[in-house]
Assembly symmetry: C2
Amino acid sequence: MDTVLISEVGPRDGLQSVKATMATAHKHAWIDALAGAGLREIEVGSFVPAKLLPQMADIADVVRHAMTQPGITVMALVPNLRGAETAIVTGLHKITIPVSASEAHSLANVRKTCAQMLDEVRRIVDLRRAQAPQVLVEVGMSTAFGCTLQGAVPEDDVVRLAEALAEAGVDEIGLSDTTGMAQPAQVRRLFQRVRAAIGERTGAAHMHNTRGLGLANCLAAYDVGVRTFDSSQGGLGGCPYAPGASGNVVTEDLVFMFEAMGVHTGVDLEKLVAARTVLAAGLPGEPLYGMTPGAGLTKDFVYADGRTPLDTRLLSTSGACA
Amino acid sequence: MDTVLISEVGPRDGLQSVKATMATAHKHAWIDALAGAGLREIEVGSFVPAKLLPQMADIADVVRHAMTQPGITVMALVPNLRGAETAIVTGLHKITIPVSASEAHSLANVRKTCAQMLDEVRRIVDLRRAQAPQVLVEVGMSTAFGCTLQGAVPEDDVVRLAEALAEAGVDEIGLSDTTGMAQPAQVRRLFQRVRAAIGERTGAAHMHNTRGLGLANCLAAYDVGVRTFDSSQGGLGGCPYAPGASGNVVTEDLVFMFEAMGVHTGVDLEKLVAARTVLAAGLPGEPLYGMTPGAGLTKDFVYADGRTPLDTRLLSTSGACA
């Protein structure tokens, strides 16, 4: 029985992409529900100044609360050394740094060139070594499959950047389809090349569903050995072509695909759909995406580990079609 | 450069699943637009008595009009010998017969056992031989990946039925995920087994997006040699868990996936999106699905055959998120 890690990024990637700010108590409840559903790695927010990202103003409190959940890896995004310093004192388990493969995106996103960001990563790794050697450092390589500013991103650039990051001491380097431009053949090729270059430091596939290819791209990554997948409950992050929206792969549908294939995720879909209700309560009126909650589980559905659902219907009323 | 055939089933599978009836003139215009966009096989309707399916009352007229389009295979569904007889006199190119792999579904859908339906197919093939030897006969095997009534459908049953249909003289046997229960590993396994049994008579993958796996399942089928894919413009057929809805794979997203992968479909996405406007005019207020029209094409997008789009934006205003 193969196993994958579903890395739930809704509380960071999702929440930062919606206009409303979810109240802290709701974040606590949502994270508790996600953990209760079996998610084992949760990106609970980002360490960015509150004036830039008010949705993340309570990040230290949210991390502290998440740390009370046993058995989960509590992760947060840090865009720079300052953020890493603030993050590390909370005692969280893992930080993730966004490093753009596209120079144009790097400048637009973090106001640094790729080379400058690489230096920043080195400084963060030095900080980790000196002050918190147990903290894991991941990089999610943004625009690895294309950039809306630059267009195509040379695959050689992606591979070279992965090598430089591995050399800098990063534990895990994933590829992110920030712009929803990835296609399955490219996904396979790029992950194969990166794995050939950096081996077991090859990390997560972070796919977007901007043009409907999210799950096909996840399947493609799985085919070439990727075993960690970023996704967002309800595909939170809204319409992928509205300003600032992210179009994340939907956790519910991703979990269904893997479990239906006999691949163990550890996630209970009934409890996950219950968590969806908690999310909806925290962001009233915010559209949630995904097909599985409303469709329910298939007749005779069995999880990869042999468990059977109590009730295949999932949502007691039909869900939204979106 | 690999090539696939996109078989557009919107005018049949889509239209039969919506409450409203599209006016004949609109059907003409929509089919013209689909053909103009480069679709080379179009399932224009079904030969079912009008009192059972009023949406298909004008089928003979629609076939006649479609036959005026050069370069397309005009196809229609026939559920029985009577329908085949009526279809053949129109001079259409191809008929498709739905044969259920699940006995329960066969009885519910056409009031025949699988064995009785196999006999009906034999009679239709005999008719074709006697009266219209140039007409192609396809079978789409319904519930090949599972049935909402029966549950799991034994893969052996699917393979044996494919063999029997090939022996009966059917030209092309595809597998249809009528209920949206298919998962990628199963799709690969089943198509591989069917191909091993019946070789080049292995036909189309007809996938549904009921739980979000539509394109992942299409990719899986492509991986094992499938080169014909049924899809519906705008995913017409509505909410997959509303009564009678079908949740077809969206043609726009499917074409995007293949072209982005360098696989030739012959479809022009800009013209396809123009056809979407014609569809919308014919069914005002009917929700249309798919991500690509609103997201637009990717920067620097090139079709598999080297063509470049005039304008990557596709829809001049943002499309619906669904």
